[in-house]
Amino acid sequence: MNDLLTRDMLVKWAPLIVLIVLVLMFALIEPRFFSVRNFARIGISSAPALMVAIGVTFIIIMGSIDLSMEGTVSVCAVAFAFCFLALGGTLWSAAWLALPLALVVGAVIGLINGLVHVKLKIPSFMASLAMGFVGTGFALLLTGGDRVRIEDEAFRSLLTVRWFNFPIMCYVALAFLLIAWFIQTRTTLGRNFYAVGGGEELAHASGLNVNRVRVLGFMLAGVFYAVGALLAVGRIGIAETATGSNFMFVSITSVVVGGTALWGGIGGVFNTLIGVLIVNVIGNGMVVVGLPGYVQDGVLGLLVIIAVVLSTDRKSVDFVK
């Protein structure tokens, strides 16, 4: 019992400890790392990734997986950019409607994703992977391979205007993190995610509509991907097919490193926050210290394996497929 307790505590606090150790380590090697300017940089690179990772966190808590984020982010970004330009090209006109529209696009893609998974009974990883490719292809079809520039100052203020040294997009990301936390802890939907992930049979036997929960989960994830897309466009001022690239690896790595269990039921959005920060601190820290980019990927890969090893109770798992 005592053993279990310490193990549980370790698993619970390990991500935060890792984050703190990493920050201290980089700060010791290179004092420039430990500056508000640099933390703001980490914040900027983390914000879109955090949104995408929160989306997939809900899915992973349900014990499923969603790999459609890259395609979804691209489609949402491109759809937003076209609408935004068509409706006036500045936030001080009807063009602001493009913001909610992007969220709706994300939700619709999530809905299709969820329905394909639940109704056609295709495993979630396959259904979402396929949807992701469809999304990427669709985004390419819309843009014809061009980049769409968003130069509206009001929209770019997400990056350019800073409060207390941090750009507005960091605060937007923080606000959506709180919304996600509210959904996770205070709504029936959030509770249902845990129930489905912790015991699907039981959730069913308690009268929950498990399929409905799953579809809603994918929709919710789609909305968060769309928020991630908006922040990504705000960061570089460009929407293109490649806007979504690399989000899959970063978001799933973050969720796992943050301590959310891949088989569902355990973890949450704050774990994901820590995970995203760990991933971005490593990325940023290595650049600041002066290590080449390929070392980053290697270190992240190792970190994922360590995180899963730590969070798996191997006694209770017989075989892994």
């Binding site: 709504t187 509770r191 249902n192 009268g207």
Partner: protein, 501 residues
């Protein structure tokens, strides 16, 4: 030749085998009978090497042996034919027969399939099964698969010097009558090659096939009879004979039920092979117990009431309304609560805490537009923790960390707090210690007093008799008999067993 002497096996809290003496001679067929939980399966596991005994000796031809695992037992000629079919259905018959022993057909890392097929055919000939060994196992009937399993165990003959002992665990449970006869004839012929230990719930089959019969009860061998002198009645008495304490089952608190208020009723309901033509009424305050062996249809009936199974014919009525859509959701809405046997799988979500588990089936009642009212949830949990004296530090405790009895109370609280008044209890006391069992019995009586109708599948026959107002005995999915169990006029164990097997 194979002998166990004073073999003991203990698990935490349970003395599973108490000084067992057991022996089997060359070419003998030995039957093993006993109630659920009497220790049959533990004994078998000791014999085929899955468990190591804590005390006593195992000898083969007077040489002491000790098996660390089933493979070592197999090397000494002890094989097991499993009750749940253990063949891998997507492999071919011959691959299954030689699974784990393919090396003999391998040359330079390549399998000689022709040689394996020929060897498999020789094995299949022993059990008189004329099928292509290249067939995918999934295409075989259950009876054929049972024979393939037997053939697989018989490969020991070539690999092992000395005699074979083969355990047959409920081999007839999935077979039709003619197939059973075929199997028995085959087993008798095979006694030239091996000795058999035969375990079955069906007394008539054990009597028919065995030369000698071991009767087990509470982890002890209470009798050994030779088939010639065996008498079904005497064996059944020995299997169940036990002192029953009326206090223990709270018989003094058993009140008559409200015969005018029917909560649930079945009218000639049938479901595939699971049960046929079942009719009963469950009244307010009644404890109705379904008694039968494993696979007699008890669980399927519970699952139908809850809506997890859809019957083929007949009508199910809950609170005066006929059920049309069989889903768990509609069951819950009608006020049915299901306390399943596997608490860990279907009873509680591990990782969720006490109040989250309690409101899982009724979240709509504790939320406004999807937003939960946590304060009310916690209050509800605290009330029920008091009411059922659940031992937990707080309502925030992860349910996985509670003891079995307290977990069971949380599951009951989940349904009762939601106002469920038809409660289905499937082995509610399984795996609980005596104190926790008594708590559950108290709760059953308290629920009856509140006018709840309880459909019970009990862990033991005594429990069934002690707790219930009415007992329905099932066998092979059909009602055999119905007993009224008013306090003081309860049927005896023997009355029940008589209809069960």
């Amino acid at each position: 030749m194979y002998e166990l002497r004073q073999v003991d096996k203990k698990f935490p809290g349970v003395h599973a085998l108490k000084s067992i003496d057991f022996k089997i001679g060359r070419g003998e067929i030995v039957g093993l009978v006993g109630e659920n939980g009497a220790g049959k399966s533990t004994l078998m596991k000791v014999i085929y090497g899955a468990y190591q005994p804590d005390g006593g000796t195992i000898t083969i031809d007077s040489v002491a042996v000790r098996f660390q695992n089933p493979r070592q037992a197999m090397q000494k000629g002890i094989g097991m034919v499993f009750q749940e079919q253990s063949l891998i259905t997507n492999l071919t018959v011959m691959e299954n027969i030689f699974l784990g022993y393919e090396q003999q057909f391998v040359k330079f890392g390549v399998v000689n399939w022709k040689a394996m097929a020929a060897a498999a055919r020789a094995q299949l000939a022993k059990v008189k099964l004329d099928i292509d060994p290249n067939m995918i196992t999934a295409k075989l009937s259950f009876a054929q698969r049972q024979l393939v399993e037997l053939a697989k165990v018989l490969t020991l003959e070539e690999r092992v010097d000395g005699d074979l002992v083969i355990l047959l665990d409920e081999p007839t449970s999935v077979l039709a009558k003619e197939e059973v006869e075929l199997l028995f004839r085959l087993v008798r012929e095979l006694t030239t090659r091996a000795s058999f230990i035969f375990v079955s719930h069906r007394m008539d089959e054990v009597l028919e096939l065995s030369d000698r019969i071991y009767v087990m009860k509470d982890g002890e061998v209470v009798d050994v009879v030779s088939a010639a002198d065996a008498n079904v009645d005497a064996i059944q008495h020995k299997m169940v004979g036990r002192d029953v304490d009326k206090q223990y089952y709270r018989e003094q608190k058993q009140e008559p039920y409200d015969a005018d208020r029917t909560l649930a009723s079945f009218d000639a309901v049938s479901l595939g092979k699971k049960y046929r033509d079942i009719s009963f009424d469950l009244r307010a305050g009644e404890v109705l117990c379904l008694v039968g062996t494993e696979g007699s249809g008890r669980e399927a009936i519970l699952r139908t009431v809850f809506g997890l199974e859809t019957p083929d014919s007949g009508s199910v009525t809950l609170k005066g309304e006929e059920v049309r859509a069989f889903t768990a959701r509609s069951g819950v809405e009608k006020g049915v609560g299901y306390v399943p046997r596997e608490r860990k799988v279907e009873g509680l979500v591990g990782g969720m805490n006490v109040y989250e588990n309690m409101t899982l089936s009724q979240m709509r009642r504790y939320s406004t537009a999807g937003v939960l009212r946590l304060g009310e949830e916690r209050q509800l949990a605290r009330d029920w923790i008091d009411k059922l004296s659940i031992k937990t530090p707080s309502e925030h405790k992860d349910c996985g960390g509670l003891s079995g009895g307290n977990q069971q109370k949380v599951v009951l609280a989940k349904w009762r707090s939601g106002g469920s008044d038809i409660i289905l209890l499937d082995h509610p006391t399984r795996g609980l210690d005596i104190g926790a069992k008594e708590d559950v019995y108290d709760m059953v009586r308290a629920m009856s007093a509140d006018g709840v109708g309880i459909l019970l599948v009990a862990d033991t026959l005594e429990e069934a008799i002690g707790l219930s107002h009415t007992i329905i005995v099932l066998k092979d999915g059909e009602v055999q008999h119905r007993f009224d169990c008013a306090p003081g006029a309860k049927p005896t164990l023997y009355d029940l067993v008589h209809y069960m097997i």
